[in-house]
């Protein structure tokens, strides 16, 4: 394991939630420690395995910055993003309509099931 890398960073730029989200993206590659020092955070990253702690610290800070920017963008665009996501989740996944012919004429469904079974049988023999 390489030596831990650390940095002190302003709380105003790196919210705690962004640092937590960034730590999640490092996953098992690193252990991340965080301590408050007045208006700054002290972040320490230890690489698990062969990783380079300094590179992982850089990745963590990039990711945290990206997260805090995304949070700001989300705040600004919340009504639009929420409307799109809400509608997609509420009404975006309707099933295809049922076949009216099969509903009106049950024999059609049976004939089709029989045809599919015959095809399956041929495929099984080819396997």
């Amino acid at each position: 394991m390489s030596r831990p890398a650390s940095a002190t960073i302003p709380k105003s730029v790196y919210p705690r939630a962004s640092l937590a989200a960034a730590a999640l993206t490092l996953g098992r590659r690193a252990r991340v420690g965080l301590a408050a020092e007045g208006r700054r955070w002290r972040v320490e990253v230890s690489a698990e395995g062969r990783g380079d702690a300094a590179a992982l610290l850089g990745e963590l800070l990039n990711e945290a910055l990206s997260h805090s920017l995304r949070a700001a963008a989300l705040k600004a665009e919340k009504p639009l993003a929420a409307a799109v996501a809400g509608r997609m989740l509420a009404r975006g996944f309707p099933a295809a309509p049922a076949d009216p012919l099969e509903q009106l004429e049950p024999q059609v469904r049976l004939d089709r099931a029989e045809e599919a079974a015959a095809l399956l049988d041929r495929a099984r023999r080819a396997a």
Binding site: A21, L24, T25, L26, G27, G58, N62, E63, S66, L69, R70, A72, A73, L74, E77, K78, L80, A81, V84, A85, R87, M88, L89, A90, G92, F93, P94, A95, A96, P97, D99, L101, R112, E115, A116, L119, L120, R122, A123, R124, A126, A127
Partner: protein, 417 residues
Amino acid sequence: MSRLREPRVPGPVPARALGGGKVLVAGPTGRVALLTEDEHAAFAGGLREPDPLRERLAALGVIPEAAEPEALARATIESGLLNWSGPVTHVVVVSARGRSMVPETAKAAVDFAFSTPRPTLFLEFVDEDGNGWPAAWFGAAYARRRAEWAGRGLALSYRSAAAPARERDEFLRGHGVAVRAALKADGAAPPAGERGAARARVTIGPGAREPEAWVDALSSAGVSGVEWVPAPELTSDPSGARRFADFAGRALSRLIDAHETSDLRDELAIGLLSGRPWEIRGVDLVETLAYAPDGTVFSSEEGWALDADRSVGIFRLGHVSTLRFADLPSQPVVPALVAALAREAQPLCASCAYRSYCLIPPSVHFRAQGSLTGRLPDSPRCAAHMALLDVVFSRLNDEKCLKALEKWGVDISRFTC
């Protein structure tokens, strides 16, 4: 440390400097105009009526007081996720990593694809190991019948590393299944006449060179569509990503130059230029769903590959025999994917000139950078999309480029220069 590479141009609307004194400005609905630097400076400084440049830019919807709000709203909805009606592409992995799909599972996968609402479907059977032929055979024959029964449009494709044997090739042709060759580019040598394949998916390795030679070779083999895919080694660091972006950009440039004699088309570039998220290849859930050999449904082929390669299971949606399309929103990953696909809420995307044309699959972000939303300044896929769109938009004043786009079915009425 990576540097922001995007040459943004300050101004009232998203703009991108394209070299040679050209600046691309984009309106809110994806209409774009290629301006000179002087024109852009005049625009940024404020244009007065009756300036002809003002008329041109008003047509893009970039001058609020001259825009027609209803037309803008209509165009925004038509090309946005609110107008989405189910995934287009269903990737059925009939064999891969030593596992094969049984025909019964292929039936369940086809039934699931037909339970989704989009009127026209595209099913691709991926026979990576060459052992999945019974499932592919059944899947193609059954899907064709189901499309006839339901009166729905259907395109079929069979992807394998080796060209199918004659008997199989005849079956595929008889059922209207396009053969898609899975090729690898990792050196200078172009493929030696892959005749018979209608389309190709070429994985670009670290040693790949001479994209122009690849384009020429695929064209001369009669291939009509190509998708360039980066090898995993090229997605793990920014220099690899730049190599892939350079390869893809040069290949597209060659395709544009050769369009009069070649029918080859870049599928990713055309998907991007459609300006509709459900036409961009591989976008989780919106463009695609994937089915593993054991019947597990994934949000994309990349999501399945992450599960197979790294045991990352977050893109699993359920099993094809029990999952219902209408139940997808209750899967934990689906709301997260929908949120990640909202480009308005992405930093840098929101102010990018290509916002209306680009969408990066969350699973691709996850492989490269470990999160569903990625980190755009050093995102490998962002670099590739930028390179492709730069090639097209920097040539909007080139008749040859416009003719090529028209031939490929791109709506060029949205582009002005």
